[in-house]
């Protein structure tokens, strides 16, 4: 069992590669995507992804649009946004659309690591709730 299953989405390949290696080294499963569409198809493919690290500024579909798509298709997946300073308002908007948190680029790795673990914890909590609800529903039907 890995610590977390993560999808990193950023158009900066160097950043994605290194980040992936470092996270894998910390016993995480990491998937990579270099644009929004790839991210969505990766999510379809790997249902076990818990946290998406999503860059806001990408060519093609921008981070905010991708975030909305993710939240629609996979509401339980937590998203951490990576943003430049100039796109803080976007980040705020992202938070309003259900992102877990945002990090200012360049971010400290330790900080990111912490945020990921928090997000995973939150996701697990949500999943447990969802399961309990489902169990409750089933119990209700049976009772």
């Amino acid at each position: 069992m890995t610590n977390a299953t993560i999808l990193i989405v950023d158009d900066e390949m160097g950043f994605v590669e290194t980040m992936a290696k470092r996270l894998q080294k910390r016993n995480m499963t990491v998937y990579k995507a270099y644009d929004g569409d790839a991210a969505l198809s990766q999510l379809e493919e790997h249902k076990d992804v818990q946290v998406v690290i999503l860059d806001m500024k990408m060519p093609g579909k921008d981070g905010l649009a991708v975030l909305q798509d993710i939240k629609e298709a996979h509401p339980l997946v937590e998203v951490i946004m990576l943003t430049g300073h100039a796109t803080v308002p976007t980040a705020v908007e992202g938070m309003q659309h259900g992102a877990f948190d945002y990090l200012m680029k360049p971010c400290s790795f330790d900080n990111l690591n912490e945020k990921i673990l928090e997000a995973v914890a939150l996701k697990n909590e949500h999943e447990t709730e969802a399961v309990e609800e489902r169990v409750g529903n089933i119990a209700g039907r049976m009772g």
């Binding site: 680029k105 360049p106 790795f109």
Partner: protein, 569 residues
């Protein structure tokens, strides 16, 4: 100022002045001229008709006087016979009688026979037996029934005239002659005196004076210039004549004594119209003074207007210069933001790569001889990467677009941010910061960008002031006091002279050399603080440093609670 610009302003001033003068004076002249002209002609007519009336009336008086005398003499001739009249005693009685009856107008009575000899005489002169056969008057009167003679000196060598009646008693012709007192007659005319130069006299057909004229008129010769038609009083004529003394005269004449004489009234034109001339002079004076007042006012007003224009132009020029400056700054800001943003990515990758190497070293590099050296290098890469990050973040906060959105602003944090940005110039100016910040103070509602601008302006001003003295301490404090946020920015620089102290917030006031300062910094601060409902004031004196006090209000409690809630969301 540019000479072209000066010429433009001068032209503008001239045009305004000319327009105002034309518009105000033209109707004045038109209306004034019209009234003037009307007044003149009405007054002239009045003078003419008045004079004509006076002359006409006097002519009637003189005519009736003569007629009366003639009638009286006629009566004598008819009432008494030749024999009676040639009786000296009777004649004397008769003279006394008529003198008693009509006054001493009748001087003497004489009877002249057909040969021109005075055969009877009663009067003060010794004229009995005088021979008039050669006298002009006698010859002329021969063929007429009654004659009023011209005034002559005659034998008695004093002016007189007489009324002669030719009678015929039984084929024998004789003439009754009565002399009229010249002075009494003259008096009838002489009392027509109007103004200083107006007087009347009587002329005969040959132009010989029949009454004593004013001394100055005795040798005056007149050449008529024009005559003025008078519809009524058709036997009175008025003419203007230029006299031999160079003056213009008004000559009013009317025939007298069946056309043998003329009653002439003469007056200098200048005298006749003196009242009008006076009125005209006063009016002209008023016009002149009014005109000068209008011209002066127009010039002064146009100058003042143009001075206002100049000031407005200069202000707008500075304003637009400031706009350009602001635009330039914004462009630089955007560029900086773009660069900072682009640099962030490679720096991020570099930091991550260093981190990755560090990760690897942790696992596999323990045995390497230079592992500690590699660790140190990686540490250095990470540190310098963080520095790059700090720099780009500072650049980004400088470039943040002007944003007047009101948010909750934590003053201590904002002040620290400003101090961070100003650290570099402060170091060069050897300025130390002394911050006393009350961290727990509640946030104020304000635009971050605007407050940035305020504190940056104050801090930069203070640093620039202290720089000139080789450094100093810039103290900034903030605290909450009775529901107001108080910020004090104080330096120990050279201070502001009292003369400038109450002008520092004026727009465009600057002590910096031309082109160095816009003079807008403090006025912008003032504007921003006041827009927020706050206050800013300054305490300073030469050598005492400068202290800016800012007080910002907190919103009403309910509002603040809502705001906090919103912020929390």
């Amino acid at each position: 100022m540019h000479p072209d610009q000066k010429a433009t302003y001068d032209k503008l001033s001239r045009n305004i002045a000319l327009t105002v003068i034309t518009v105000s004076i033209a109707p004045l002249i038109l209306v004034g001229g019209l009234i003037f002209d009307q007044m003149r002609s009405i007054y002239r007519e009045k003078v003419y008709s008045h004079l004509a009336e006076v002359v006409d009336k006097h002519k009637d008086t003189v005519d009736s006087f003569l007629q009366e005398k003639l009638n009286e003499v006629h009566y004598l001739g008819r009432a008494y016979s030749y024999e009676q009249l040639t009786d000296p005693v009777f004649l004397q009685e008769t003279l006394r009688g008529i003198q008693q009856q009509f006054g001493r107008i009748f001087v003497d009575i004489g009877v002249i026979d057909e040969n021109g000899r005075q055969i009877a005489y009663a009067g003060p002169y010794a004229l009995l037996g005088a021979d008039y056969s050669a006298a002009e008057w006698y010859r002329q009167s021969r063929n007429q029934e009654a004659v009023i003679s011209d005034v002559i000196l005659g034998l008695r060598q004093s002016p007189h005239f007489f009324i002669t009646i030719n009678n015929d008693t039984g084929g024998k012709k004789w003439t009754l002659r009565v002399t009229i007192d010249f002075l009494a007659f003259s008096h009838l005319v002489e009392n027509i005196r109007i103004g200083e130069t107006g007087s009347a006299y009587i002329l005969n057909n040959q132009g010989v004076f029949q009454t004593k004229p004013l001394e100055s008129y005795e040798h005056l010769t007149l050449s008529p210039v024009s005559s003025i038609p008078l519809p009524e009083l058709s036997d009175v004529s008025i003419g203007i004549a230029s006299g031999s003394d160079g003056e213009d005269y008004l000559e009013v004449a009317s025939p007298l004594n069946n056309g043998n004489w003329r009653l002439v009234y003469l007056q200098r034109v200048s005298d006749a119209f003196s009242a009008m001339t006076r009125a005209e002079t006063v009016t002209l004076l008023i016009f002149l003074v009014g005109g000068i007042a209008i011209v002066v006012t127009a010039i002064v007003i146009s100058r003042q207007l143009v001075v206002r224009f100049k000031i407005i132009d200069r202000e707008s020029e500075l304003m637009s210069k400031q706009m350009v400056e602001t635009g330039k700054l914004a462009a630089i800001g955007e560029l900086a933001a773009g660069i900072a943003h682009e640099i962030n990515n490679p720096v991020a990758i570099m930091i991550e790569e260093a981190g990755w190497v560090a990760d690897i070293m942790e696992d596999e590099g323990k045995g390497l001889a230079s592992s500690s050296e590699i660790d140190r290098a990686l540490q250095q890469v990470a540190t310098q990467g963080r520095r790059c990050k700090d720099i780009t973040h500072k650049l980004l906060s400088f470039a943040r677009q002007t944003d007047s959105r009101v948010t909750n602003v934590v003053l201590p944090a904002l002040i620290r941010e400003v101090v961070d940005i100003s650290m570099q110039p402060a170091r060069y100016g050897q300025v130390d910061f002394d911050l006393t910040l009350e961290e727990a103070m509640p946030p104020v509602r304000a635009s971050v960008t605007e407050l940035h601008q305020v504190f940056l302006n104050l801090v930069n001003n203070a640093i620039q002031a202290m720089e000139t003295e080789g450094g100093g301490t810039l103290s900034i404090s903030c605290r909450e006091n009775n529901g107001v946020a108080e910020v004090v920015v104080a330096d120990d620089g050279p201070g502001i002279p009292a003369a400038n102290l109450n002008r520092v917030f004026d727009p465009f006031f600057t002590t910096k050399p031309v082109g160095k300062g816009s003079g807008l910094g403090l006025s912008i601060c003032f504007g921003i603080i006041h827009q927020m409902g706050g206050e800013i004031d300054v305490e300073s004196g030469v050598g005492q440093g400068t202290r800016f006090n800012i007080r910002l209000p907190y919103p009403a409690p309910v509002e603040q609670a809502n705001a906090k809630e919103l912020h929390h969301d």
